[in-house]
């Protein structure tokens, strides 16, 4: 069993109007220090205006081995894209 501090995933909003984006992780004993470490580690050059830290153990994700079953069905549903539909050229603004 490792005595490392817990791991936190770090997300940075690079500027107003954009989503937070995953940039890496830090070890910290608590949320406050996780934020402090994230700030020192990932935003030394104005990389962001806002930070999120999330305990890594709390992240739930899809299984890469199931990626086929999960995402491939979308491939056959090309009618979900606007380019699927033939519209005569003389029709404008559509």
């Amino acid at each position: 069993m490792s005595s490392d501090w817990p791991l936190w995933e770090v997300f940075v909003r690079s500027k107003g109007g954009l989503s937070h984006r995953h940039v890496g992780s830090v070890h910290a004993p608590d949320a406050e220090l996780a934020l402090a470490h994230a700030r020192d580690t990932y935003t030394r050059r104005l990389e962001g205006v806002s930070l999120w830290v999330v305990p890594s153990a709390d992240i739930v994700a899809s299984n890469p081995e199931q990626a086929g079953e999960l995402f491939e069905p979308a491939q056959s549903k090309i009618y979900r894209h606007p380019t699927f539909y033939d519209i005569p050229d003389e029709v404008k603004h559509i």
Binding site: L33, V60, N63, Q66
Partner: protein
């Protein structure tokens, strides 16, 4: 109510974190089908992510490569940290502080990337401090004068950039992403070093002498940073196939020499290699034989200041123990108070 927590659990197929999976089961490691699919993905320049299947040898090689790289960043703070209190101006001191802080950051990005392969931070630090893990031989040379800080930024960071730029396209996603961040920041390091060299090269006779002396001492160790010659680098072929390495040691070394010699000319410094000569036919410089005996001696831990470096690391780790313990106890107390 499909999103009630306990209900949701049924839909969770797999936990995904970059934290260690302590009970990760050993998969059919060398299942030929999996191996074939893996090789095909890598050959197609796809990225491999932490929970994707990978051959055990790929995991092991990458863990070693990334952690060595992380250790190098961390130990790399020591030769330069040596000069923070003696920087010749406030401007230089602020720059050097920022650079050393960057090296710590680079070490942290890389440790995080290595941890996603299943080795804990603690294990890696332990391996460094016990001497089991290696780090770049370059940091086992001393920084004798201020000119060394210029030479390190220019040459050592220059060589590091040469090594690291291709790694932004390495096949392992977390490593490639860490390298993108590192490369963005390294350019500052190299330019600040070269600027120090410009100042000295345009200074007094004594300053010029210092610049040449530092150049003489750092040139050959910088060429050694690219590792042994290709014919003595048995893992190169495998690493190239796995996209863990994208160019060979000798290719990168040649590139470094070709771009660095004109930079030395600009400073009116003499490359300490009587055999250095432009080769029109190959479009690059021919250069003298590297002292590989010295290289392997430094790899074995016989570098001029290897012992001091490791002692400084261990002392820092021990001296900081109370901070780590205090932070952990504080968090425990806070949690207990909250629960009460």
């Amino acid at each position: 109510m499909p999103f009630e927590p306990e209900h949701r659990r049924r839909y969770i197929i797999h936990m995904y974190t970059t934290e260690l999976q302590k009970s990760a089961k050993i998969e059919n490691l060398e299942d030929p089908k999996l191996l074939e699919a893996f090789e095909a993905r890598v050959a197609a320049d796809e990225f491999i992510e932490p929970k994707d299947w990978m051959p055990e040898a790929y995991r092991r090689t990458l863990t070693r490569q990334i952690s060595q790289h992380a250790h190098s960043e961390i130990v790399g703070m020591l030769p330069e940290g040596n000069w923070i209190t003696r920087a010749p101006s406030l401007r230089r001191k602020a720059i050097l502080l920022a650079k050393v802080q960057d090296e710590a950051g680079h070490g942290l990005y890389l440790y995080c990337a290595a941890e996603t392969l299943g080795t804990s931070r603690e294990q890696m630090i332990e391996a460094l401090h016990s001497g089991k893990a290696k780090y770049s031989t370059i940091f086992n040379y001393p920084t004798l004068t201020w000119a060394d800080i210029g030479a390190i930024g220019w040459l050592v960071d220059g060589a590091a950039i040469m090594n690291q730029v291709p790694l932004q396209r390495t096949s392992y996603g977390p490593y490639a992403r860490a390298m993108v961040r590192v490369c963005k920041e390294e350019s500052f390091h190299q330019r600040q070093g070269y600027e120090i060299m410009i100042a000295l090269a345009n200074g007094t006779a004594e300053q010029k002498r210092m610049a040449q002396d530092a150049f003489n001492r750092w040139w050959w160790p910088s060429l050694m940073m690219f590792g042994p010659p290709d014919e003595n680098s048995p893992n190169t072929a495998q690493s190239m196939r796995w996209r863990i390495k994208r160019e060979t040691n000798d290719e990168l070394r040649q590139k470094f020499v070709d771009i660095t010699v004109p930079q030395a000319d600009f400073l009116s410094l003499t490359v300490p290699d009587p055999q250095l000569k432009w080769n029109e036919e190959k479009g690059g410089y021919d250069f003298g034989e590297i002292d590989w005996e010295e290289f392997y001696a430094v790899v074995r831990g016989e570098g001029p200041v290897a012992k001091e470096r490791m002692k400084a690391r261990r002392d820092a780790w021990q001296d900081g123990a109370w901070v780590r313990e205090a932070a952990a106890v504080h968090e425990e107390k806070r949690r207990a108070r909250k629960a009460a």
